[in-house]
């Protein structure tokens, strides 16, 4: 299993020391705080974290899409070796969607309500300089629609309001795939969908991944979804990546107390309900982060050193890192 942090020849995207700030009147929020992450080519990487943990901001930064007033303060993002943050104008516009596409949260709202799906397909191709005839473009879209098990003849003629939530979400996945990107970013792709539809959409995504060899980045707060889809998992807390591991290691031998408590907190059909424990305290105030480990105030294992300085990322095992003094006692000296 390729490591999630250490860049290797096989990684499609390499993020180094990424910091994203949001200067607000009350102070500056550091939404992403020194994230190092590599997305292995052809794998599904998941970023998991609560709202406000910075996962969406990381994804937006990958497309150089951090919105005002957010600024990428420092760090580098390389996509197949190219510096994404240096891309300008037309080159940046073509990079987005052609190389890396994004399915937004509540993507249903991303469709134009007064245009038929087919017209939106053609518009998308045209905006990215495709000169083929409408018929050819629609035929290509139809293939993808069949792939996500929608009837192309009907759906291409439909307006968004004529489709159910699950159908619109599948249409959005088709849009994201239209220009054959190398990276597909999915931001909470199934919120607001029913369980059966959610499960079905993930089955489709797993198949797309397997058959097209697409690299995927999935952002979610639902740890159970991660277990089904992801190869590598990064756990985010208060803007920092606190743990990276392959999915099996993460669920069996989580190294960071936050990950362990997250696993013990989520109710599921498997557990003994008497055995669930909430994470005490509340998520940190990003305007007033603790000086040391951001999780320390909620951590059951905190020691004096945790409040003093932020812990470094420690190698716990093969391709497994955790940002915790406890993860490897040897790191405590610093």
């Amino acid at each position: 299993m390729a490591s999630g942090v250490t860049p290797t020849a096989s990684s499609l995207v390499e993020i180094r020391g990424l910091c994203v700030d949001f200067p607000l009147s009350l102070g500056t929020i550091r939404a992403v705080n020194g994230v190092d992450l590599a997305l292995p080519r052809g794998a599904v990487t998941a970023l998991i974290g609560e709202s406000g943990s910075g996962k969406t901001t990381v994804a937006l930064a990958m497309l150089n899409l951090v919105a005002n007033p957010g600024v990428i303060r420092s760090g580098s993002i390389r996509f197949e070796g190219r510096d994404v943050l240096a891309l300008k104008g037309e080159a940046l516009r073509q990079f987005r969607w052609r190389e890396a596409s994004l399915v937004f949260q509540a993507a249903q709202n991303c469709l134009n309500p007064i245009m038929a799906i087919g017209d939106q397909v053609v518009e998308t191709f045209r905006a990215h300089g495709d000169a083929r005839s409408d018929r050819e473009l629609l035929r290509e879209a139809a293939e993808y629609l069949t792939y996500v098990r929608l009837e192309p003849d009907r759906v291409l003629r439909c307006y968004p309001h004529e489709l159910s939530g699950g159908m619109k979400q599948r249409v959005m996945i088709v849009f994201a795939l239209l220009l054959k990107p190398k990276l597909l970013i999915l931001d909470e792709p199934t919120t607001a969908l029913d369980v059966i539809t959610q499960d079905y959409i993930f089955d489709i995504l797993v198949r797309i991944h397997r058959e097209m060899g697409l690299t995927m980045l999935l952002l979610t707060h639902d740890i159970a979804i991660v277990s089904k889809v992801a190869d590598v998992v990064g756990v985010m807390y208060a803007g920092s990546l606190v743990e990276v591991a392959d999915v099996f290691t993460l669920f069996r031998h989580a190294g960071h107390p936050y990950t362990r408590q997250l696993l013990a907190a989520a109710p599921s059909l498997l557990d003994d309900p008497e055995d669930r424990h909430p994470i005490v305290g509340s998520p940190p105030d990003l305007l007033d982060l603790p000086r040391g480990c951001a999780f320390a105030p909620r951590c059951q294992h905190r020691e004096a050193c945790c409040a003093a300085s932020p812990p470094p990322m420690v190698e716990v095992g093969q391709g497994h890192q955790a940002r915790c003094f406890q993860a490897n006692p040897g790191a405590r000296a610093g």
Partner: protein, 339 residues
């Protein structure tokens, strides 16, 4: 059940039909949102109502709280039909059945402080005689819903609180009116996973300590199982009950193929299991329209076990094992298990 006390809430054969006029000459569109719903909630009991969107969960919640009058059937609160209550009794009923909404941000007035939002209903209903007493009760309520120290929350506005805290305020506002029943409609779906369990634990605590009954409406079987571990469950599909019984038994041994399909779609936090679990392959992922529900069993268009009988006759709810199931083939369908 003859020896049990009067249920707090009872629904007898409740139908809700929404009628949409389509124009002068066309017959109006009839949407049968609920059909033949019967249920009982006893004092201190938790009833989880589950199903997908369009199943009728929210309509059921609205009927229970008296917001929506059923087209047919009766809603009984402590044995009395709520349609027959006079104005004064209506007021008492409204106080005793409280709602906790899904979107706590929308349910709290952004212009009012926590203290104001909590004190006003108590003053309005005459539960307290002075503003000073109301403030005292607000402090007690905040402590009851584990917002401590209470003084810190009194003068905050909703936007200054986290999602979990806002949900606690809503729960506090409901509990402060000394209700007998709380209808909670997806109360934790907007709270972060790490805080969900504590919100659910709080509801369980209130349920036990105050002997408060809950109708917990959700699409999330994991949280339903968590909060209703010694309660009951009612599964809705296109406005009808497909399975009901004691929650652990129903979830442990689901008999209706719809419930089996729901359960097999719930993500499991185990990479081995979730990658290799047995799937129930539905014939159609999308729910048919309520406007024109399928004839016979409403689930037959999606059911992998459907037989000719299912297309022709509508199955009635009947006792199968320990639960009640509306399926012709309940005895023949293979037993379902998690893996």
């Amino acid at each position: 059940m003859a020896d049990r006390p009067t249920p707090v809430l009872e629904l007898r054969d409740v139908d809700v039909t929404f009628v949409k006029p389509l124009g002068f000459l066309k017959p109006p569109l009839q949407i049968r949102a609920l059909q033949g719903i019967a249920l009982q909630v006893h004092p201190g009991e938790v009833l989880a109502v589950v199903g997908e969107s369009g199943g009728g969960k929210t309509t059921l919640g609205n009927v229970v709280t008296g917001i929506l009058k059923p087209t047919a059937g009766q809603v009984l609160f402590e044995g009395r039909d709520i349609a027959s209550l006079d104005r004064k009794e209506q007021r008492a009923f409204r106080r005793q059945v409280q709602i906790v909404q899904q979107d706590a941000y929308a349910a709290l007035n952004p212009m009012h402080t926590v203290a104001y939002s909590l004190a006003t209903p108590m003053l309005r209903l005459g539960l307290v005689s002075s503003k000073a007493e109301a403030r005292q009760r607000v402090i007690q309520t905040l402590e009851l819903v584990e917002l401590r120290p209470a003084g810190q929350y009194l003068d905050k506005y909703p936007h200054q609180l986290s999602g979990g805290q806002r949900q606690r305020i809503l729960l506090g506002r409901a509990v402060s009116l000394a209700p007998k029943l709380i209808v909670a409609d997806e109360p934790v779906s907007m709270i972060d996973v790490s805080l969900r369990v504590s919100a659910l634990n709080l509801m369980r605590r209130l349920n036990r300590e105050l002997n408060l009954s809950f109708v917990y409406v959700t699409h999330d079987l994991s949280t339903a199982r968590y909060i209703g571990r010694d309660g009951r469950i009612l599964v809705l599909y296109l406005g009808k009950v497909v399975e009901t019984g004691d929650l652990p038994a129903v979830i442990g041994h689901p008999r209706h193929p719809y419930l089996q399909a729901l359960l097999s779609s719930v993500p499991l936090p185990d990479p081995d299991l979730s990658r290799h679990r047995r799937k129930l392959n539905l014939k159609d992922v999308d729910m048919p329209s309520l406007v024109d529900p399928p004839p016979g069993c409403r689930f037959h268009t999606r059911c992998p076990f459907a037989a000719p009988l299912c297309r022709e006759s509508e199955p009635a709810l009947r006792q199968v094992g320990t639960s009640e199931v509306a399926c012709h083939l309940a005895e023949q369908i293979p037993a379902w298990s998690l893996a």
